[in-house]
């Protein structure tokens, strides 16, 4: 799975992507096309680099570090996408001055960026040397960002140009011209063409090097943006789990925190996000709880953090220990199937079917399912959920599922949102047992100032049913 394929998973990953302050289009492309990491080596290496970089940049920032970082980011801003030029070069097209300038520019830039990395002492970041490429395009060794077909490329060219200058004198107006001058100018043109052809030929041997240098600068851009995001959002470096267990302490959702901060900035009431702890292994876990108790948010946070983890971002928790998964499947209904013309029920069961297919491939999977079968009657709904949990048990996968149904059985773990405590919502999770389904829908609705007659009537009906049952 590539990063760009995850962006539409409704868990807030797009928000994290949009928040990244990337300097270059190359950085953006590198990130969007990066595959999900699936091995311990990759993940550990990525976080070693991210952690080292973060510490170097932000854990006692001197003015010198800040200014070197700003300078480095400015350099990266100058990184242009020259894929088109390189493609032409690989097809044996003779490059013109603009193309050659671009390549020289990137080569010099790689040198500057490499110096910037060294000045900051960033470990694990290596910008390949483009010295050979630069020397082809900078025969005078001036190291200036400019290009023309230099006299030095051929003795004859230098001679012809000197002759032209002599003939032309001080008048730049070439329309006043002699046959001799025209002849020289034509010779110059042909020589320049040959030199460009030769340069293109030489550069063709270095295409791979050039691409590597550009990719490395793009990756550096992503790394710096991830570090800044960690700092701004208070994200953590997670540990890779040794025992298939995933554990978050103080997990939060950066988007919701961002919304709260915005509301406060606009003069609204300052709301605090209540961080949540969560722990799960290779098992099925159901999460029950009152409406508005943050069940879906728990799923979204678990999905978001798993994605952040496997793409090497800072993770939204105070502390985290995460198990590497090969597959992440998320069924959080956001009415996405309107476009494909499916009813809400059809959309939902198709999504769950997708999870089951994933499970049958035998890959290590994290499945996050929000209120399965919620759009049908509670009798069939409960049966569907019970059967689903039954199928998922004993597989080497992790399943988190929210539900309102009272599902019988002891083959899965049950968590519950603590819920309304003295009129205030407590979003923390606690272990619970069968049968404890909260009946707080009407209370919660009351807190929203919903039509009183409707809620009163509903309570009366419930009271009658209680008497009937007794």
């Amino acid at each position: 799975m590539l990063f760009r394929e995850c962006l539409d998973i409704p868990c807030g990953i797009r928000f994290m992507f949009d928040d990244l302050q990337l300097q270059s289009a190359c950085g953006r492309t590198r990130l969007l096309h990066s595959p999900m990491m699936k091995t311990r080596e990759e993940v550990e290496k990525a976080y070693k680099t991210l952690g080292d970089c973060y510490r170097t940049l932000y854990s006692n920032t001197t003015p010198q570090v800040s200014s070197s970082l700003a300078a480095l980011k400015h350099r990266l801003m100058c990184l242009r996408d020259i894929t088109g030029t390189l493609d032409r070069l690989s097809r044996d097209v003779v490059l013109d001055d603009v193309d050659l300038f671009e390549i020289k520019y990137v080569g010099l830039l790689a040198g500057h960026v490499s110096e910037g990395v060294k000045a900051l002492g960033l470990e694990g970041v290596e910008i390949p040397d483009m010295e050979k490429v630069v020397s082809i395009l900078d025969p005078e060794g001036m190291r200036i960002e400019s290009f023309y077909v230099y006299d030095i490329y051929s003795k004859e060219l230098g001679r012809i140009r000197a002759d032209i200058k002599k003939l032309q004198g001080l008048s730049p107006d070439v329309s006043v011209t002699s046959d001799r001058l025209l002849e020289l100018i034509e010779k110059e043109r042909l020589l320049e063409r040959d030199i460009r052809e030769n340069l293109s030929h030489l550069l063709k041997n270095h295409i791979a090097e050039i691409r590597q240098a550009i990719d490395a600068m793009g990756d550096l851009d992503v790394l710096l943006a991830k570090c800044l995001q960690m700092k701004m959002m208070g994200l953590c470096i997670p540990a890779v789990s040794e025992d298939s267990e995933t554990e978050y302490k103080g997990m939060f959702h950066p988007f919701i925190v961002h919304v709260y901060e915005n509301q406060a900035a606009l003069g609204g009431k300052k709301k605090q996000f209540q961080p949540v702890d969560l722990k799960f292994g290779l098992e099925s876990v159901t999460i029950i709880g009152a409406n508005m108790g943050g069940k879906s948010v728990v799923l979204k946070m678990a999905a978001l953090n798993q994605l952040l983890f496997q793409f090497g971002f800072g993770v939204a928790a105070q502390e985290a220990r995460i198990d590497i998964k090969e597959d992440i499947r998320v069924c959080i209904g956001d009415d996405q199937d309107l476009s494909s013309g499916l009813s809400s029920f059809a959309g939902e069961v198709k999504a769950i079917d997708n999870v089951l297919r994933g499970m049958r491939t035998g890959s290590r999977m994290l499945a996050l399912i929000d209120e399965p079968a919620r759009t049908t009657n509670p009798i069939e709904g409960t049966a569907l959920v019970q059967a689903l949990l039954d199928i998922l048990k004993d597989r080497k996968i992790s399943v988190l599922m929210t539900t309102h149904y009272n599902v019988p059985g002891d083959f899965f773990r049950r968590l519950k949102v603590r819920g309304l405590v003295e009129g205030k919502m407590d979003y923390s999770l606690m272990e619970t047992v069968e049968g404890e389904i909260p009946h707080e829908a009407i209370n919660v609705a009351r807190s929203l100032d919903i039509d009183a007659q409707w809620l009163d009537d509903a309570e009366k009906i419930l009271a009658k049913e209680d008497i009937g049952n007794n």
């Binding site: 603009v98 300038f101 032309q168």
Partner: protein, 338 residues
């Protein structure tokens, strides 16, 4: 050489033609040729320009001739067709229909086709980005349909070119040119007023007799009907941040308080009023002022129309000089004497 020494008093210059074939390119080449060789020049053109044939009338146009050391910016396509030896310095982030805009330094003089940034905003970005090559003078070859390229935001000074292509009737030509010159030379508003209005980018604003800033809460002067009485009722200065139109000008003209109001616009490129409406406004005692003013160095005339009609150069120059009050030159005829 007072023409050239006037130009050298400023850091930047725009050349704007009031019509095609009024000799804008001739004028530019004349200036480039006469500037002292110690003066480092950076030059570009707004949109497509410098083509060897006029794209509308098919008449021959002189190419732009650059001397050694000049910095120029043009599109990639035209850069490939250059007839100078030049060193490429920068690929800018500006784009045009002819590709990216590149900047280069002339190593051996010759001819180029110039086609630079195509909007006033990107031109302003060009002007600031070319600063790193520390030129003594930047020159923008403007386009008639884009008077905004002559905005004081981009250039401190200005040369207008006009001629038989604009009108073959000498009286009309002089009158219409005079109108544009009047707008270019509008007075700057009082310092206190300028300070209040500076930085306002849209809407219509006023200042009352106590010097308080009033926001009339409209997006532009185009939506004025709602605020008519309010605007003319109590303001001593009214500022239209966007375009000034006949309707807005008419509203001020019709007011009983027209004589008590200073009408202010950002600069002359924001004025889109007809000569008639402007004359009525003046007759009723109206005053139009600007926040930013550029220096009009000269008016250059081309007495030949693209269809071959030729006005008497000496008479035209003399009449024009009397009407506009700035130096007037026919560069082709009198180039040697300027």
């Amino acid at each position: 050489m007072s023409f050239i020494s006037d130009i050298l008093k400023f850091k930047s210059l725009s050349i704007v033609g009031l019509e095609k074939n009024t000799g804008k390119t001739v004028c530019l080449n004349f200036i480039l040729d006469r500037l002292p060789s110690t003066c480092r020049v950076a030059v570009t053109s707004i949109g497509i320009d410098g083509e060897s044939k006029d794209q509308v009338t098919g008449t021959a146009k002189p190419e732009i001739i650059l001397k050694e050391g000049t910095i120029f910016s043009t599109s990639e396509v035209f850069y490939a067709r250059r007839r100078v030896l030049s060193e490429l310095l920068e690929i800018t982030s500006e784009r045009s229909s002819l590709g990216r805009i590149v900047s280069a330094r002339v190593l051996r003089g010759g001819k180029v086709l110039l086609s630079g940034p195509s909007s006033a905003q990107s031109l302003a970005r060009w002007a600031s980005s070319v600063e790193k090559f520390s030129p003594d003078l930047t020159i923008v070859d403007g386009a008639l349909s884009r008077l905004s390229s002559a905005s004081p935001v981009i250039s401190e000074s200005l040369i207008l070119t006009t001629g038989a292509a604009y009108s073959v009737d000498m009286a009309t030509l002089v009158r219409r040119t005079k109108f544009i010159v009047e707008l270019v030379r509008l007075e700057r508003a009082d310092e206190a007023v300028c300070q209040k209005f500076e930085g306002l980018e849209k809407g219509v604003w006023g200042i009352d007799s106590e010097g308080n800033l009033i926001d009339f809460h409209v997006e532009s002067s185009l939506a004025i009907d709602k605020i008519k009485d309010d605007v003319t009722g109590r303001s001593v200065a009214v500022f239209a941040a966007g375009a000034l139109t006949d309707r807005f000008l008419g509203m001020i003209s019709d007011s009983k308080r027209v004589k008590e109001i200073d009408l202010v616009v950002t600069d002359f490129t924001k004025i889109f009023v007809s000569e008639e409406a402007y004359r009525v406004f003046l007759k009723k005692g109206g005053r139009l002022k600007v926040l930013r003013k550029s220096k009009l160095i000269a008016v250059c005339v081309n007495p030949t129309s693209p269809r071959g009609f030729v006005l008497d150069s000496d008479v035209l120059c003399e009449k024009m000089r009397q009407a506009v009050g700035v130096p007037v030159y026919d560069i082709v005829k009198n180039g040697e004497d300027i």
